[in-house]
């Protein structure tokens, strides 16, 4: 994750609201002035709150997942990011520009050149070939046929469809169609790709394969992505950071590890309960401080323990423990030992006891 530039925020979503309904402006005003709840707005104004006070920042090179169940407002939120839906209140800045301040031509240009989008429904034009579909974004920008076909063919090559250029969408499987959708989005070379539940309709095996390919491709090309999903496993697999949404509100934003270790509320806790921790929890979260270890094992020589990095996950730690004849592993950051992973702390990490309780138990 070294290529994420924390200093460059590409999408800055500031306290954005979206209220649907005929009396949406009045309802919005009532929320701002009187702080009505979602339920009160439905009763008094017959309006539905889609997104409520959402703030998030997406940095250059980052894959940002928004996870929520249906009706949580995640699809509305992603459409606010390229103004397919206009916010009722709040601002969305993309590359420092306020989307609501753009005129029609500027907005078109922003969408055409800087923000790609991939849909759950794929939306491939049935009367066009795979190549023509992938080139569609470039075509509407007025790029000459030879050039756009070359660029689109290169994009299709990247998603592994180099041999399918002259086929029609109906001849392709669901997974392949979604690859064409991705190729169409990256053909215009945007910095940001919005993915609206792109893999939800695919079968599990193809889905995993596409998730890995998508992550690899996005990192390789240095793109930023906002990825919507209802599947926490998918969010963890793909996302550098994850936002969890419920009823239009972003409940928690953090890395997968942060969310699994410190769920913000019971809703998130229930969600993460079934998640495999083997690849999520890193050594720095399960290690015990060096002094605690020494107090318990006064005869043990820390210098002779097997060393690993703070980023090693539980799976790797178990492997190291089993290979070694000692029952502890030293965690070293830049040569200095910062903690020790013991068999006990490893088991606590797998089971999910928070690290501070574990330290107290030790």
């Amino acid at each position: 994750m070294a290529n994420i530039d924390a200093n460059e925020v590409l999408i800055d979503c500031q306290s954005v609201w979206k209220i649907f309904g005929e009396k949406a402006p009045a309802a919005m005003k009532a929320v701002a002035e009187r702080g009505l709840s979602k339920k009160q707005i439905l009763q008094e104004y017959n309006c539905v709150v889609g997104v409520s006070d959402a703030s998030l920042q997406v940095r250059r090179g980052e894959i940002f997942c928004i996870m929520g169940l249906s009706g949580s407002g995640k699809s509305t939120l992603i459409r606010l990011l390229n103004r397919l839906i206009t916010p009722s209140l709040g601002k969305v800045l993309v590359k420092g520009k306020d989307l609501s301040a753009l005129d029609a031509a500027e907005l078109r240009q922003m969408r055409a050149q800087h923000i790609g989008m991939v849909f759950q429904s794929v939306a491939l034009l049935p009367h066009r070939t795979v190549l023509e579909n992938a080139a569609f974004g470039l075509e509407v920008q007025g790029i000459a046929k030879a050039e756009r076909n070359r660029t689109a063919a290169a994009a299709l090559e990247k998603v592994g469809l180099g041999d399918w250029l002259s086929r029609f969408p109906s001849e392709l499987s669901g997974g392949m169609q979604q690859r064409v959708g991705l190729a169409r989005a990256i053909a215009s070379d945007p910095e940001i790709i919005l993915m609206d539940e792109p893999f939800s309709a695919l079968d599990p095996l193809i889905r995993r394969q596409l998730q890995d390919e998508f992550r690899q491709l996005t990192k390789e090309l240095g793109k930023s992505a906002v990825f919507i999903t209802h599947d926490l496993d998918e969010a963890i697999r793909i996302g550098d950071r994850i936002a969890i949404m419920k009823d239009g509100v972003i409940i928690q934003v953090g890395t997968a590890e942060e969310i699994v270790l410190n769920p913000a509320d019971q809703y998130v806790a229930d969600f993460v309960a079934g998640i495999s921790r083997l690849h999520l929890i890193k050594a720095h979260s399960v290690m015990v401080p060096v002094v605690d270890y020494q107090r318990q094992h006064p005869n043990s020589d820390i210098g002779s323990l097997v060393k690993t990095t703070p980023e090693a996950d539980i799976d790797a730690l178990i492997g190291l423990t089993m290979q070694s004849d000692r029952d502890a592993i030293a965690v070293a950051d830049n040569g200095t030992v910062v903690g020790v992973v013991t068999a006990r702390s490893l088991l606590a990490g797998v089971k999910g006891t928070p690290s501070h309780e574990q330290a107290a138990a030790a």
């Binding site: 397919l84 969408r111 923000i115 939306a123 009367h127 075509e139 509407v140 169409r184």
Partner: protein, 282 residues
């Protein structure tokens, strides 16, 4: 009787309105008549220019390419039978009438249909008007047309034009409104302009419906063009009308066969063209 007094007054009004129109609009109606007949005669001239077997061959090949080899062969044989019955000139003038009236109906109907597809208000306004046109007995259009344009092909063309227009408007409007939502969203997301949205997204999706409208217009025109035999349209319609007046049953059946052959050939060919527009194979 009071009701008949009411009817008399209404009829008197209608008559004087028509009279006023034909007196004051004479120049205009003469112009319309000249233009319509000019268009019709131009097309007829084109159809009669080559010998009959060339026209038969063209239609048979079109049937073969667009439908299948069987249909092409059958269409060729059926058309040759029309010629053998001595009805080739009448068949060609009926074809010319249908082509002229349908082209005019499409020329007016397609743009109206497109606009109605975008403006639900216009669509709601057109709906009862189109219902009215389609439910009125077709003869109704002939009398006022005769009053204004006189006896001859121009009157037949106007009446046929009126009857052929509604399906083109309806199905075009429907097609434009039926663009799947996700493709509209796709267009916006990739930064499309309004014109591109129409030509690259809405129109391709509307094409099958528009083609069905064109096919329906053509069929309505065939129905009307026979009825218009009464007003001196020329062609098979007049042959049938003449045969009815002289009780020449054999002749009327000959002409009816020719009409059926011509209608079926054009129906199948345009239907297959519609499937082509959908991107499928014939």
């Amino acid at each position: 009787m009071e009701s008949s007094a009411f009817a008399d007054t209404f009829d008197a009004w209608t008559d004087s309105a028509l009279e006023w129109l034909s007196d004051n609009g004479e120049f205009l109606f003469d112009l319309v008549r000249t233009m319509l007949e000019g268009f019709y005669e131009g097309i007829l001239w084109l159809l009669e220019l080559p010998p009959f077997f060339v026209v038969v061959a063209v239609l048979a090949v079109a049937g073969w390419r667009l439908v299948n080899a069987w249909f092409g062969a059958l269409a060729g044989i059926a058309l040759v039978i029309c010629a053998l019955m001595g009805l080739w000139p009448e068949t060609m003038s009926t074809l010319a009438l249908v082509i002229t009236a349908t082209s005019l109906a499409l020329f007016v109907g397609l743009p109206i249909g497109v606009i109605a597809g975008f403006l639900p208000a216009l669509d709601r306004l057109l709906e009862p008007a189109l219902d009215l046109i389609q439910t009125l007995p077709p003869y109704i259009y002939l009398l006022p047309a005769i009053a204004l344009l006189g006896y001859g092909p121009a009157t037949a063309l106007i009446a046929t034009f009126v009857v052929a227009m509604p399906p083109a408007i309806r199905l075009t409007s429907l097609g434009i409104r039926m663009t799947p939502h996700e493709f509209i969203e796709l267009g916006h997301a990739i930064g499309i302009t309004k014109w591109q949205m129409f030509f690259k997204i809405r129109l391709p999706f509307a094409m099958p419906s528009i083609m069905a409208g064109i096919n329906q217009s053509l069929m309505m025109a065939f129905g009307m063009v026979v009825i218009a035999g009464i007003v001196g349209s020329g062609g098979l319609g007049e042959t049938i009308y003449g045969a009815i007046r002289t009780l020449d049953i054999a002749k009327s059946i000959d002409a009816a066969i020719a009409i059926v052959v011509l209608t079926m050939v054009l129906d199948r060919i345009t239907q297959s063209a519609a499937r082509f527009a959908k991107g499928g194979t014939p």
